[in-house]
């Protein structure tokens, strides 16, 4: 395969999603949380997400209740993902038990396991080959944030593909993954749970970055990342 060694926050495969496209989408999502998105962008952003017409609501209801996950077993989380359709924890109750092998028939990609740098272009190509609408769950600590192995060989999923739900755990219990899938279902059907700032009414407590002095910059015991101990 032509391994295009571009800096890995971009994507190796073809497709209009260029690297800065994710970065913009991520930054916009973050700004949304902070509530400082200009008007017309906010309009376009909401339009893309919120379903207004009843036909869309019906379509979202149908899609939410019949997500076909693509069998994407990478490592240990795959074994826990495999026990999802098992007898004890039957996700057939929610309509997700049809694990499809090819990306053409799947609309949910569960990244279960560690994504190594040799596997990243393959994962990105498979995500490109999935048909719209498609969603991605980063299962386990390794695909969400390199998890236990913060070293040269692992790439967090956010670096090269948009992820909808992160399921924490190493490996997460099957119930945790099922909870993640149900959260994704709520997100698809338009009633995504509000962020923690709204739930706890913590608006206005965002850290002020930039010119204000970094909190704890000169505190004795606060080590900046990378420093082992203060000189």
């Amino acid at each position: 395969m032509e391994v295009v060694r571009s800096k890995l926050n971009g994507d190796g495969g073809p497709g209009e999603a260029t690297p800065d496209d994710f970065r913009i989408r991520q930054l916009r999502a973050r700004d949304m949380l902070r509530g400082d998105i200009p008007d017309e962008e906010l309009q376009q952003y909401v339009e893309e997400r919120v379903l207004t017409t009843t036909l869309d609501k019906a379509a979202a209801w149908a899609r939410g209740n019949s997500l076909f996950p693509a069998t994407f077993g990478l490592a240990c989380c795959a074994i826990e993902m495999m026990s999802l359709p098992g007898a004890r924890l039957d996700i057939a109750r929610f309509g997700f038990e049809a694990f499809r092998a090819s990306p053409r028939q799947a609309d949910l990609l569960i990244l279960s396991g560690r994504v190594s740098i040799k596997m990243a272009p393959v994962v990105r190509r498979i995500y490109d080959q999935m048909l719209e609408p498609r969603w991605v769950i980063a299962m386990g600590a390794c695909s969400s944030s390199m998890g236990v192995f913060n070293n040269y060989a692992i790439v967090p999923a956010d670096k090269f593909m948009p992820v909808d739900v992160h399921v924490p755990g190493c490996p997460p219990r099957p119930e945790a993954l099922m909870h993640g899938i149900l959260k994704l279902r709520d997100k698809i059907q338009g009633n995504a749970p509000a962020g923690w700032r709204d739930r706890y009414d913590a608006r206005g407590t965002e850290e002020v970055l930039g010119e204000a002095d970094l909190p704890g910059a000169n505190a004795v015991n606060v080590f900046q990342s990378g420093e082992t101990q203060r000189a």
């Binding site: 073809p14 393959v122 994962v123 190509r125 080959q129 999935m130 719209e132």
Partner: protein, 121 residues
């Protein structure tokens, strides 16, 4: 003359209408995607890697052979269904005719078996 074929024509028309409706519906209702993102969805899927199998790859003859044999003997079975359902109504003549039909095909089957076309080569 036309009336006797009326139901058939109506049946055909409805079939056509439903087919085109289902064909056009995604184009109208579905979301419009940028051509680029669709382009990546058209690339052949080969386990996540760029596929190297050229478009004009000439497949072996054995696949074609198996397909022909399947069509021959499978269609034969399909022909037997209507006869089997209404055998009493058709009378003994149909029984004789079907058994001749099956005998002929058995000759073909014997020939194919002896020539070894059934073993995969």
């Amino acid at each position: 003359m036309l009336t006797s074929y009326g139901p058939a024509i109506v049946f055909l028309a409805i079939g056509l209408i439903v087919a085109t409706a289902f064909g056009m519906a995604p184009r109208l209702l579905g979301p419009r995607r940028a051509a680029a993102s669709r382009q990546s969805q058209l690339t052949p899927y080969e386990c996540g890697l760029p596929s190297e199998v050229t478009r004009n790859f000439r497949f072996g003859i054995s696949f074609y052979l198996i397909a022909m044999l399947f069509i021959l003997f499978d269609i034969e079975v399909i022909f037997l269904y209507p006869i089997a359902v209404q055998l009493r109504a058709f009378g003994t003549f149909a029984l004789v005719e079907t058994s001749v039909f099956i005998a002929l095909l058995m000759v073909g089957f014997g020939y194919v078996w002896r020539r070894g076309a059934l073993e995969w080569k």
